[in-house]
C-alpha cells in the first residue's frame, strides 16, 4: 500500500488537492476583476506636497504658508503640475492620477501606518489589511501579498509574508533564494500533506485560513524551481536609496514571476521633517524619485505571460500624513491630517495627459469636490482615505461593505 507521501511524490495527492473546488478551499468564488497586481508604496514620514504633486505659486497661498521656490520651478507635465523635487517623474505623468486633499484623520505616524496598510481610517491592529482582502483572490499566484521595506509591527497583517524590519540581512526572501530545486520539491510535498491534514481538522474559520496559508506556501515552493533566480542589478544608488532600489527590484521580480498579487512596500526616508524641512524633503525625495522613476520604467519594459507589467499593475503611492503648511521654529513642518495619493497603471482613469482629482486651498487644505467628477465643487464633499480603500476594493470586484469599508466608490478614478 502506498502512503500519502509516496503519492505526493507522484503528484497524485496534490493533484487531488488542487482539484478541490475553490469554495471548499476557503477562497472567494468571485471572478477575478480589476488590476492583476497592486503595489502600495508607503512613503513613511510625510512628503511635503508643495514640493511634490501639489506645488503652488506664492500668490495662491495665504501669508505664512511656506512656498520656498519661484513659479519657474514648477514643471508642467500634461494636466499635472510637479513640484521641484518631483520633476524627475514628468515622463510618466501622463499615466498618473493624483488625488489631492485626501483626509487621513490622524496626525500621528503610527495611526497613519495602521491606516495605510488598510487604506481606511479608524482601524485597529486587529483589522486585516486591504491586500489581505484583495490577495485572498490570488488567482493562480502562490502568495496573496508580500510586505517589503523597513516595516514595523504596525505594518503587520494576518496574511503577512516578508519584511525585513530594520535589518536588511538574512531576510526571509534572502533565505528563500538560497534553497535549491530539490529542496523546494521536498518542501512542497511536505506542505501539501500538512495542508491536506489541516483541512480535515474540526471546522472553524481559523482552520480554513491555516489551510489556505499552507496552500499558499506549498504553491510558492512548487513555483520556485521554475522562477528566474533573483539577482540585484546595480541601479547606481547606495545607502537607503540602494536598499530601496533592491526593494523595487524585488517587487519587479515578484510581479514578473507572478508570485504575489499585492506588494506593500514601505519607503523609510527622512520625510518626517520637523526640523530643517527643505533639506530633509530634498534629500529624501532626491533619493526616492530616481529609484521610483526607474521602477516605473522597468514596469513598462518588463513582461510576463499576462503582458506588460505596467498594464497589469496598479501602483498607489502616498504618505500616512502630510506636512503642516507653515514652518515651525526649527524651519521644520509638523503634521497635517491630509495627504496626496498618486495612482498609476491598471484600471486608473488618468486620461490621456494625466489627471488631477481634488484640490487644495490657500492653506493647503482639501476643498470639497464633486463625487461625480472629482473636481472642486462648492456643494461637494471632502475626500477621505476610506474613499480610496472602498474604490480599490470595488475595482477588484469586492463588495466593500462586507469588509467594513464604508467610504464612497469614486467612479471618476476608474477607467470607464
Amino acid at each position: 500500500m502506498w502512503n500519502r507521501r509516496q503519492l505526493l511524490r507522484l503528484g497524485l495527492a496534490s493533484w487531488g488537492l488542487s482539484a478541490l473546488p475553490r469554495a471548499a478551499l476557503g477562497a472567494p468564488t468571485r471572478r477575478s476583476k480589476g488590476p492583476r497586481n497592486i503595489v502600495v508604496l508607503m512613503l513613511r514620514g510625510g512628503v511635503d506636497g508643495v514640493y511634490a504633486f501639489d506645488p503652488k505659486e506664492r500668490s495662491q497661498v495665504a501669508a505664512g504658508v511656506d512656498v520656498p521656490y519661484s513659479a519657474d520651478h514648477i514643471t508642467e507635465a500634461g494636466n499635472l503640475l510637479l513640484g521641484p523635487h518631483y520633476s524627475g517623474l514628468r515622463s510618466f505623468a501622463s499615466d498618473f492620477a493624483v488625488v489631492k486633499g485626501l483626509q487621513v484623520k490622524t496626525a500621528n505616524h503610527e495611526s497613519g501606518a495602521l491606516q495605510m496598510v488598510r487604506l481606511k481610517t479608524a482601524v485597529s491592529n486587529k483589522t486585516p489589511g486591504i491586500l489581505d482582502i484583495i490577495g485572498a483572490d490570488r488567482d493562480d499566484r502562490p502568495l496573496g501579498c508580500v510586505t517589503l521595506g523597513k516595516t514595523s509591527s504596525f505594518e503587520h497583517a494576518p496574511a503577512a509574508f516578508g519584511g525585513p524590519t530594520y535589518s536588511a540581512d538574512n531576510t526571509l526572501l534572502d533565505r528563500l533564494d538560497q534553497a535549491g530545486p530539490e529542496e523546494f520539491a521536498l518542501l512542497s510535498r511536505v506542505y501539501a500533506e500538512h495542508a491536506e491534514r489541516v483541512a480535515g481538522w474540526s471546522d472553524s474559520l481559523a482552520r480554513d485560513r491555516t489551510a489556505e496559508h499552507l496552500r499558499q506556501v506549498q504553491a510558492l515552493f512548487t513555483r520556485m524551481p521554475t522562477v528566474t533566480p533573483f539577482e540585484e542589478a546595480d541601479w547606481g544608488r547606495s545607502g537607503s536609496a540602494g536598499q530601496l532600489s533592491a526593494d523595487f527590484q524585488r517587487t519587479l521580480w515578484l510581479l514578473e514571476n507572478d508570485l504575489a498579487r499585492g506588494v506593500y512596500l514601505k519607503v523609510y526616508f527622512n520625510w518626517d521633517s520637523h526640523f530643517d524641512n527643505a533639506r530633509k524633503q530634498r534629500a529624501s525625495s532626491g533619493a526616492f524619485v530616481p529609484a521610483f522613476a526607474r521602477f516605473l520604467s522597468e514596469l513598462r519594459r518588463r513582461r510576463n505571460a499576462h503582458g506588460s507589467l505596467h498594464e497589469q499593475t496598479l501602483v498607489v503611492a502616498g504618505s500616512e500624513l502630510a506636512r503642516f503648511p507653515v514652518l515651525n521654529g526649527n524651519d521644520g513642518k509638523d503634521h497635517f491630517p491630509e495627504t496626496t495619493m498618486l495612482l498609476s497603471g491598471a484600471g486608473v482613469n488618468s486620461g490621456a495627459r494625466g489627471a488631477v482629482y481634488g484640490e487644495t486651498g490657500e492653506m493647503m487644505e482639501g476643498l470639497p469636490v464633486s463625487l461625480d467628477t472629482g473636481r472642486p465643487h462648492d456643494a461637494g464633499t471632502h475626500l477621505v482615505l476610506d474613499d480610496l480603500g472602498t474604490t480599490l476594493l470595488g475595482l477588484c470586484g469586492f463588495d466593500p461593505e462586507r469588509y467594513g469599508y464604508r467610504g464612497r466608490h469614486l467612479r471618476f478614478l476608474e477607467v470607464a
Partner: protein, 656 residues
C-alpha cells in the same frame, strides 16, 4: 496530536517506561514555550508529563518550578514591552559620530571629516581606554565645543559630523565611537540595561511597579557612560568619563540624580528615552507600556489642526491648546501633560543629555482619557510621573491584560482576565500573574474550550426575529431592522457607555445601516468593548454574528462578512516568532537555528498567527536544522515534516 508526541510515544514504548498521556506532553511543551520561550527537551517533557499524570507533582507546583527558570525574565521583556526593538538603528544612541582612521608611518590617526595633515594630529586619552592615548585630527577633536549656538548639544542627531556641524568628538572624545563594532557594543549595553533590569525585577519577584520606579538599573560600564556624559554636559569634569570603579560587567547599581526625582526605573534609561526622537513619541510608548493606551489618533480634521492657530505643535507652546481641544484631547491631554514631567530631556535632535536647567519646578497634573479626566498631581519629575501612573487602575489592568494575552491569546475570557487581575492586586508580582494565567491555560487545554468559537448552527438561515413591528417608515437602503440578539447585544455591551446617543435609540427596532456597520467593525476588531477584559471571545463572536445576520440576507454575503469580521482573516494563533522557530529546530533535534529576519519577528504575541511568512520561515529553519542533523533522502523529508507540523507552531488547541 503534535508530532513530538508521536516520537515520545515511540521512545517510551521502546524503553518500556510508562507512557504519559499525549495531551499532557503537549501541555508541558506549551507551558514551557509560554513561560520560557523555548521548547523542552522531549525526554524531559515526557518525564514531567508522567509526573503530572500519575500525581507525583501537582500542576501548581509544576508551574512554580517552571517559573523558577531565569528565562522568565526574558519572556517578561516581550510581554511587557512588546517585540519591537529597544534601540533602533536610526536613533543616535549613543552617537552618530563614528571615527574613521588612516595610517601614517606606522601610526594610526583617527578622523571624522576626512584626512588631516598627520603632523597636526593631537594626542588624546579617549574615554574607552584610560591608559593609552590615540592620535586624532584636530577637526575631529574640538574639545572646547560642547554645543552649538542654538543650544543643541553635541551628540544630537542634527549635529552629526558634517561640514555645517561645529562639533568634534569633544573632551575625552566623549561624543565619538571608535568604530562600527564599538557602536554596536554600546548599543548592546544600552539595550541590555533595559532587558537586564526587567529580568532582575521579575526573577527576584519584586513588585512590578519597581521596574518603573526604582533608582537603580542593571548595567555595565558602557551604559553608565551615557549617564556620565550627561553630567559632563551639565558642567562636571570630563574625567568622569573614565567611570573609575564601575563594573565592566552588568550589575545592579544606583544612578546619580541630577535633580531630585530624576530617575524612574527603566523610564529614564537611554534605551527607553530615545525610543522616539521627541518626548511626545516617548510618552506614547510609555503609556502603551504602562496603561496599554495604544496610539488611537483618529477623527482629527484639517480644519481642527488649522483652527489651533499655532505653528509649533510639537515643541512649542501649541501643546496646551492641543491637549484641551476637542478630538485632540483624547490623546494629547495624556501625552502632553505627561511630557511636562520629563522636561529636561530634549528631543534627540537637540541632544542626548539631561538638562537640569530645563526642568519645570513645582507640581503638575496628569490626565488619561481627555482633559476632563484628571488623575492627580505630583512633582514634575520622572519620579512624580511614575508615582501617579503606577497608582492608577489602568496600570494593573494593563499588566493583567498583557499577561492574559500572552498566555491565553484569542481564547482569553473575562473570567481569565479577572483572575489575573486579582493576582496582580494581591501580589503586584509578574510571576504570580503568569502562574495564574498558565494554570488557567492548562485547565483550558483539558476542557476543549475552542468549541466556543465553532460555527453557530443555522447561521446562514435568514434572520426571522426582526423587531420592527410598528417601526414607521422604513428605508432598507439606509436602515436595518434589528434582531432580538442585536438589540440585546447593544443593550448589554454598548448602552452603559453610549446611553443617551440618539442614533443608538433602539425603540422601534430600527437602526441606521452605517451606524450598525461601524458598530460591527468596532466590536469585531476589539475597539469596542475594548479587549478581552470586557467581553468574552464567545460573546463577541455571537454579537458580531447577530449583526452580520441583520445586515446581510444572502448566504454568500454573510459567508464573506463572517470570514472577515468573525475570523478576521486570521489563521490559528501561533507562538511568537522566535519561540516558534526554536520549537521547529528542537523538533528537528537541534538547538541551533537558522537566523531569519522578517515582519513576523516584529509582531507582538497577541497578533501572532500562522501566516505564510511564519510557515515559510519554519520550512527553511527545519530544512537547515534537519540537514545539520545529518538527515538526507527520505530521512530528511520525514524530519522536515515532523519539524514543520503546524501543531508545533500553533498556540493552544489545533482542532485536530
Amino acid at each position: 496530536m503534535k508530532r513530538g508526541t508521536l516520537l515520545l510515544a515511540t521512545w517510551a514504548l521502546s524503553c518500556g517506561g510508562p507512557e504519559p498521556a499525549s495531551d499532557t506532553v503537549e501541555l508541558v511543551q506549551d507551558l514551557s514555550m509560554l513561560a520560557l520561550a523555548r521548547p523542552m527537551d522531549p525526554s524531559e517533557a515526557k518525564e514531567h508529563a508522567s509526573a503530572l499524570d500519575d500525581g507525583r507533582i501537582e500542576l501548581g507546583a509544576y508551574v512554580d518550578q517552571l517559573l523558577d527558570d531565569p528565562a522568565l525574565g526574558r519572556v517578561a521583556r516581550r510581554v511587557i514591552l512588546g517585540g519591537g526593538e529597544i534601540v533602533k538603528p536610526n536613533h543616535p544612541i549613543p552617537s552618530h559620530s563614528v571615527l574613521s582612521h588612516f595610517d601614517h608611518e606606522g601610526e594610526r590617526i583617527y578622523s571624522l571629516r576626512g584626512r588631516c595633515v598627520p603632523s597636526t594630529a593631537v594626542d588624546v586619552l579617549p574615554w574607552w581606554n584610560r591608559k593609552k592615548t590615540i592620535k586624532v585630527c584636530p577637526s575631529a577633536y574640538r574639545p572646547e565645543v560642547l554645543r552649538d549656538d542654538e543650544g543643541r548639544t553635541c551628540g544630537a542627531s542634527t549635529l552629526a559630523p558634517g561640514a555645517d556641524s561645529p562639533c568634534g568628538c569633544g573632551p575625552r572624545l566623549m561624543f565619538c565611537l571608535k568604530d562600527d563594532d564599538h557602536r554596536d557594543e554600546m548599543r548592546n549595553s544600552v539595550r541590555s540595561e533595559v532587558t537586564d533590569t526587567l529580568a532582575y525585577v521579575v526573577n527576584n519577584d519584586l513588585p512590578i511597579e519597581q521596574l518603573f520606579l526604582m533608582n537603580g538599573t542593571v548595567r555595565d560600564r558602557d551604559a553608565e557612560r551615557i549617564y556620565v556624559r550627561s553630567r559632563v554636559l551639565a558642567g562636571e569634569s570630563p574625567d568622569l568619563m573614565q567611570v573609575d570603579g564601575f563594573s565592566e560587567k552588568p550589575r545592579m547599581a544606583s544612578r546619580h540624580d541630577q535633580v531630585d526625582g530624576h530617575h524612574a526605573g527603566i523610564l529614564t534609561t537611554p534605551g527607553m528615552l530615545y525610543g522616539s526622537d521627541a518626548l511626545r513619541g516617548v510618552m506614547r510608548n510609555y503609556y502603551e507600556f504602562l496603561w496599554c493606551a495604544a496610539a488611537s489618533s483618529s477623527g482629527v480634521t484639517t480644519q481642527t489642526v488649522l483652527g489651533l492657530d499655532a505653528v509649533d505643535l510639537r515643541e512649542g507652546d501649541g501643546w496646551q491648546q492641543l491637549a484641551g481641544m476637542a478630538v485632540c484631547t483624547d490623546c494629547h491631554a495624556r501625552l502632553d501633560y505627561g511630557m511636562q514631567f520629563f522636561q529636561g530631556y530634549p528631543s534627540s535632535t537637540r541632544g542626548i543629555d539631561f538638562r537640569p536647567g530645563e526642568t519645570t519646578a513645582g507640581t503638575g497634573p496628569l490626565y488619561n482619557l481627555h482633559i476632563g479626566d484628571p488623575r492627580g498631581e505630583d512633582t514634575l519629575t520622572p519620579q512624580g510621573f511614575a508615582r501617579l501612573v503606577l497608582t492608577q487602575p489602568e496600570f494593573g489592568e494593563c499588566m493583567a491584560r498583557r499577561v492574559s494575552d500572552h498566555v491565553l491569546g484569542a481564547q482569553v475570557t473575562v473570567e481569565d482576565y479577572d483572575a489575573v487581575m486579582l493576582a496582580f492586586e494581591d501580589s503586584h508580582s509578574f510571576r504570580t500573574m503568569m502562574r495564574t494565567a498558565l494554570i488557567r491555560f492548562a485547565d483550558r487545554a483539558g476542557s476543549g474550550a475552542e468549541e466556543a468559537l465553532s460555527p453557530r448552527p443555522g447561521l446562514l438561515e435568514p434572520s426571522e426575529s426582526a423587531l420592527a413591528d410598528g417601526a414607521g417608515a422604513f428605508d432598507p437602503t439606509t436602515q436595518v431592522r434589528l434582531s432580538l440578539e442585536v438589540a440585546q447585544g447593544v443593550d448589554n455591551h454598548c448602552a452603559h457607555c453610549h446611553d443617551g446617543i440618539d442614533q443608538m435609540d433602539l425603540t422601534g427596532g430600527v437602526l441606521d445601516r452605517n451606524l450598525l456597520n461601524a458598530m460591527l467593525e468596532q466590536v469585531a476588531f476589539e475597539k469596542m468593548p475594548k479587549g478581552a477584559g470586557e467581553l468574552d471571545p464567545a460573546a463577541r463572536v455571537a454579537f458580531v454574528e447577530a449583526m452580520i445576520d441583520v445586515l446581510w440576507t444572502e448566504d454568500q454575503a454573510r459567508q464573506e462578512a463572517r470570514a472577515f469580521f468573525v475570523g478576521g482573516q486570521r489563521a490559528h494563533p501561533a507562538h511568537t516568532f522566535n519561540t516558534a522557530m526554536a520549537a521547529v529546530a528542537s523538533e528537528a533535534g537541534t538547538g541551533k537555528r537558522l537566523s531569519i529576519r522578517g515582519l513576523s519577528s516584529a509582531v507582538d504575541a497577541a497578533n501572532q498567527y500562522v501566516s505564510p511568512g511564519l510557515l515559510t520561515s519554519a520550512a527553511l529553519v527545519a530544512l537547515d536544522a534537519c540537514k545539520r542533523q545529518g538527515h538526507s533522502g527520505d530521512g530528511l523529508e520525514s524530519c522536515v515534516a515532523e519539524a514543520t507540523d503546524p501543531s508545533v507552531l500553533i498556540l493552544g488547541p489545533t482542532g485536530e
